[in-house]
């Protein structure tokens, strides 16, 4: 079993190191890193902007590149958080808490160095888990019929919806909206046009890129235009500063390991977003620390643990996405969408049918992470400069990239109206305190959920109890119920406590901490 996996991995390295694939992987991490550094741009924007480029590519380099953008942007995000107190994307908000005080104390370089080491360590661990866990998961997954797939998708959707920022009910609502958007287009079973209102462009579904860029690009610009202040920084990071001392390494080691494990655990759970993972890693570290009062004032542990968690989660997240076809969060949903566009159906067959893709991807994780470390060392000065590009120059340029990117998906201008519509809708939803990330999860999974639901009930001749009489499915449905009950329990307890304590507010709940999504 293990020998087989190592053998496959060797094969994967052969694929990842092919010059063509290596080039795209390098391009992906470079662009991801670059976009991740830019304020207000995260992995989602980066991937959706470059997604159209992959439509004409071979699937292997396409996925290697998209994955590279994903973890590349995470490296970039940490830089903004540590040096400028600016969470380029929400998972890094927690890194600001201790990273920025370290910069102010003149130890920004060390924080970056530790981040890099922690990220590489965590990513490597995550990759190992992926190598050995995926084949096991696949063996189980082969027993899945449409009934089981529907139940596990339901669990993934519910978890994604309820564990997002803010009200769980709003999260569920937005997931359902995503599912409804996924329906738009021609029904595969009957050929009926649904929700197209006679617009021919809509018969081929809503464009994934338009949805993503509207919700996460345009909506964000609408929210922050004239409201984002440029945070100046005179930080200078030299190479020498980035090498942590032996004592610092020792201090960061166990937080790094704990963060990695937390990230791995959360990565394996469908639907738990990256932000909650980093936040829990941070909270856990503060809990076990002997000197919790140092946190928030530049504790090295507070940088190492969440960054490690975010990177191991990123890698482990690929397991359910690739082997079950169930994405853990919005970014994974996009990558799943990219696979589907390439005509590759993720699921247990993927590892055997597209072995080159799967093992090539795993090997490329390692290659890409090494590339990132090498890239970041000399380029750090450049990234720091980039961080100082004011928002007022950045977003017009980004809008242009969005327009051209969306145009190039189908070489048609209609999709730009879609972007505009989703952008305005996203801004309204954000203003009403809805989390928008679950919408992508719903959109990508929507057709699959419907298909499997239909098939399951066709097989059972319309008997709804089939979802609880088949054992594996029953287990997932049980977890769903547990999740809902837990949410109700927490909500009721929170109201009760609030009533009892009156207005002297206790510690604010996690979701109220500013900047946390």
């Amino acid at each position: 079993m293990i020998g087989q996996s190592l053998n496959d991995l060797w094969y994967g390295f052969g694929i990842a190191l092919q010059p063509h694939n290596l080039m795209w992987s390098f391009f992906g991490v470079l662009v991801g890193n670059l976009i991740g550094v830019l304020p207000g741009m995260g992995a989602l924007t980066a991937i959706s902007m470059l997604l159209p480029l992959t439509y004409t590519m071979h699937p292997v380099p396409a996925i290697l590149m998209l994955a590279g953008i994903f973890y590349g942007s995470q490296y970039g995000g940490a830089i903004g958080a540590i040096l400028l107190n600016m969470p380029s994307h929400p998972p890094h908000a927690v890194t600001c808490l201790d990273g920025y005080p370290m910069t102010k104390a003149g130890k920004g370089g060390t924080a970056l160095g530790i981040t890099m080491i922690a990220s590489f360590f965590a990513a490597s661990f995550g990759i190992m888990v992926m190598i050995f866990a995926s084949p096991l998961l696949v063996q189980i997954a082969f027993k899945f019929g449409p009934t089981e797939i529907f139940s596990i998708m339901l669990l993934g959707l519910l978890a994604g919806a309820t564990m997002a920022r803010g009200s769980p009910l709003k999260g569920v609502a937005i997931t359902v909206v995503g599912l409804l958007i996924g329906i738009v287009g021609t029904d595969v079973n009957s050929g009926v046009q649904r929700f197209t209102y006679g617009i021919p462009e809509l018969s081929d579904k809503v464009e994934l890129v338009a949805l993503a860029l509207g919700m996460f690009g345009v909506a964000d610009f609408l929210r922050s235009v004239n409201r984002t202040q440029f945070v100046g920084s005179e930080t200078k990071v030299r190479l020498r500063d980035m090498r942590p001392s032996k004592a610092e390494l020792k201090q960061a080691f166990f937080p790094m390991v704990r963060g990695t494990l937390i990230g791995t655990l959360f990565g394996a759970m469908p639907g738990t977003g990256p932000t909650i993972t980093t936040f829990i890693a941070y909270a856990f570290e503060r809990r076990v620390s002997k000197t919790p009062e140092r946190f928030g004032h530049g504790a090295l542990e507070g940088v190492a643990a969440p960054e490690a968690a975010s990177h191991s989660k990123t890698q482990v997240d690929f397991i359910p996405t690739m082997s079950l076809g169930i994405p853990g969060d919005a970014v994974m949903a996009l990558i799943l969408g990219a696979l589907l566009i390439q005509g590759i159906q993720p699921g247990p067959q993927l590892i055997t049918e597209h072995a080159d893709l799967f093992w090539g991807l795993i090997a490329s994780f390692w290659v890409g992470n090494i590339l990132l470390v090498i890239l970041n060392v000399p380029l750090i000065g450049l990234w720091v400069k980039l961080l100082q590009v004011p928002f007022r120059y950045m977003y017009p340029a980004a809008l242009f990239f969005i327009a051209v990117g969306v145009y190039s998906t189908n070489n048609s201008l209609f999709e730009i109206y879609e972007v505009l519509l989703f952008g305005v809708a996203g801004a309204i939803l954000l203003a009403l305190d809805f989390p928008v990330a679950p919408i992508l999860l719903g959109y990508v999974l929507g057709p699959l959920v419907e298909e499997n639901f239909r098939r399951a009930l066709l097989l059972s001749r319309g008997d709804l109890t089939v979802f609880v009489t088949r054992p594996i499915s029953a287990a997932f449905i049980g977890l769903c119920t547990l999740l809902i009950l837990a949410q109700i329990f927490f909500a009721v307890r929170a109201t009760m406590r609030k009533r009892r304590e009156g207005l002297d507010a206790a510690a604010p709940p996690l979701s109220n901490v500013p900047g946390i999504e």
């Binding site: 609502a173 409804l180 610009f221 609408l222 007022r392 809008l399 145009y407 190039s408 319309g462």
Partner: protein
């Protein structure tokens, strides 16, 4: 007056919006064949989702009714200039893309959206736009061979 109204919208707006979306999906979904549980038609899933969404909308309204008013946070003033410019810039890209070509469309999207930020003046916006046009032509049109004519005055 407007502050109270703003707070209400935040509390109830989400519920009303979801309720309306749900009802809309049910109404539209019913025009497709619904079928039965064992043989579902194309209308079944939309109607089911619409019903769920409408119920969640009601749930949101109920929780909004019972929850205490949110703490006094100063609502951000509306940013009409920025909003209008961003929306217009994308519309301009489509219109000019169709009747003018890639170069004027690129210039328009960058210039108009840049004018949305109060700190930009027409000079800096123009410089930024020219820069993006150069990037656009060299990267997208020349290197990536985007299917989009540079100039298309009077065509189509």
């Amino acid at each position: 007056m407007s502050a109270v109204w703003g707070k209400r919208i935040k509390n109830y707006g989400g519920g009303v919006l979801m309720l309306l979306l749900g009802i809309g999906a049910v109404v539209q979904g019913q025009t497709y064949a619904i079928g039965s549980l064992s043989r579902m038609g194309p209308g079944f899933f939309p109607v089911a989702l619409g019903t769920i969404l409408a119920l969640i909308g009601v749930g949101l309204l109920v929780t909004a009714w019972f929850s205490e008013p949110p703490e006094e946070t100063k609502p951000l003033p509306p940013e009409w200039r920025g909003w209008i410019c961003i929306v217009l810039s994308l519309v301009a890209f489509v219109v000019l893309g169709k009747y003018g070509g890639l170069v004027p469309a690129t210039f328009a999207v960058v210039f108009i959206s840049a004018m949305g930020e109060r700190k930009n003046n027409w000079k800096s916006a123009a410089i930024l736009s020219v820069g993006m046009v150069i990037v656009c032509v060299s990267v997208f049109w020349w290197a990536l061979q985007l299917q989009f004519p540079l100039f298309a005055w009077g065509q189509s």
